[in-house]
């Protein structure tokens, strides 16, 4: 086990949503290269608390890369320099002694800063609430293989369902767009047989919910590159196509209702 020494951390500190924030510099004298990025921040926080100072507030939960709670813009990249990795799974061995590490919160109008590095991502919940589900009757569970799903289709659905909703796509997007997230949530259900009944209502409702809060896509591909689950840009194309179709298909259904 090696130790990294003399890390210079520039951390964004902000007391609340409507307060002006600023960078604060902290020196981390020594940290194990086996520590995760968040454990490094934990150590710094313990020191700050010991010195009777405010701890740095950041989001974290499972710390195993599957919950989507951690965030952080590290040196200008969402979730730091390592591809397909959440901040909690980023290890200090990625850095070297003496490095300057700049840490900022996600920045988007839809993600207001709560405090320091913690942002409110309930805008994503609003998109999912508008259509990211299937309406199923309650009752006894159906037989497992009652609905045949071809293997490639279930794989494609799983690739989209891997989205953990961390918000890195919005954070990385130069336009603050949520197309990758919304596309993943739409594609996840729209390719499966269970999702067909509400396919076009879903596409229209979710894109409208997205539209009210986020920017627009200019096809840079930064979202997919930043995504810890490597969601492909293909889901955006599927969303665009289903949204266009929804405009005529939903109208047709309404006039028959």
């Amino acid at each position: 086990m090696k130790h990294l020494t003399n890390l210079k951390l520039k951390v964004w500190r902000q007391d609340g949503p409507d307060v002006v924030g600023k960078f604060e510099t902290h020196i981390v004298e020594s940290v194990s290269d086996e520590a995760s990025f968040l454990e490094m921040l934990d150590q710094l926080n313990e020191r700050l608390i010991g010195e009777n100072k405010d701890a740095i507030v950041f989001d974290h939960d499972c710390r195993e890369g599957i919950c989507g709670t951690c965030s952080l813009m590290i040196n200008g990249r969402a979730h730091g320099p390592q591809r397909a990795t959440t901040t909690c799974q980023l290890h200090m061995r990625t850095f070297s002694s003496g490095d300057e590490i700049v840490i900022e919160p996600w920045r988007a109008a839809a993600f207001p800063i709560i405090k320091d590095l913690m942002v409110d991502r309930s805008s994503f919940d609003r998109i999912v609430e508008s259509g990211g589900f299937i309406t199923a009757l309650t009752g006894g569970a159906p037989d497992a293989n009652l609905i045949p799903v071809p293997k490639p289709v279930s794989d494609a659905a799983m690739d989209s369902a891997a989205c953990i909703g961390c918000g890195a796509c919005v954070a990385a997007c130069p336009n603050g767009a949520a197309n990758l997230f919304t596309g993943a949530k739409i594609a996840h259900l729209n390719v499966l047989p269970q999702g067909q009944a509400e396919r076009f209502k879903r596409a229209e409702a979710m894109v409208n919910a997205m539209d009210e809060q986020f920017g627009s896509c200019t096809n840079h591909g930064e979202c997919s590159a930043a995504c810890p689950k490597e969601i492909s840009l293909d889901v955006i194309a599927l969303m665009n196509s289903d949204f266009r179709k929804s405009k005529s298909k939903n109208r047709k259904q309404l006039s028959r209702g």
């Binding site: 520039k10 007391d15 949503p17 960078f23 507030v57 813009m73 040196n75 200008g76 990249r77 320099p81 900022e104 920045r107 988007a108 109008a109 839809a110 207001p112 709560i114 405090k115 409110d120 309930s122 609003r126 609430e129 508008s130 259509g131 309406t135 130069p174 336009n175 603050g176 767009a177 209502k201 879903r202 894109v207 409208n208 919910a209 539209d211 009210e212 986020f214 920017g215 627009s216 896509c217 200019t218 096809n219 840079h220 591909g221 930064e222 997919s224 590159a225 930043a226 840009l233 194309a237 969303m239 665009n240 196509s241 949204f243 266009r244 405009k247 005529s248 939903n250 109208r251 309404l254």
Partner: protein
Amino acid sequence: MVKTQQALAKAGKSRAPVTGTALAVRKKRSFAADLYSTAVGKKYAMAISGIALMGFVLFHMIGNLKMYLGAVELDHYAEFLRSLLYPLAPKGAVLWILRGGLLAMLALHLHAAWSLTVLNHQARPVKYQSARDYEVANFASRTMRYSGMIVLSFLIWHLLDLTFGVVNTVGTENTFVKGEVYANVVRSLDRWPVAAFYILANLLLGMHLRHGAWSIFQSLGWNNPRFNSWRWSFATAFAAIVVVGNVSFPIAVLAGIVKM
């Protein structure tokens, strides 16, 4: 901590009611207006108008290759454009219909670009305070609005130069003669600053086209594993063909290959 809880409570209060997948009866609008009212719909408009403008730049370049066949051929080609479908339609009628369509497409492209840019700025009112480290966004994709504006300013100059002839004679003692396309082009591009602007604008156009031609597929939802790998090849080839063709004209004039 109290402050954090207050902030959370405040954020919670701003949550709007949700509609679910129940079909919301939206304001009755035509299909096009309904689609265009959303950001995804505006990207459709960008893509469709982009295809129209791509068609124009490609055929404009191909037509201008007549320059290498001499003055008679090029002037004859210009006359052909003016008398498209003549005598079925009056002289110039079809050309003006095409021009009208192109202007409408250009206006749509600009309006969509403008309103999406405004939306994107609103989506991130506070910028990142530290330097971003882009992973895949390239120079072309991040400068679309600037390359577009420079190409637009070139387009205006180009029209004043070779269509209206207003700036064609600046810096020379010659006169602009309507219909003498070949002579007008040679006179104009013989001035090296004009040729340089021409080349610069076309290189930027190429950059704009490469990102745009790829983006079309995504914006229109044309995505299929069978042809996805060809999308970048198509965009690169299209941009390269247009740029090589267009840039060859001022170089040919300056090098004396195309001369009076």
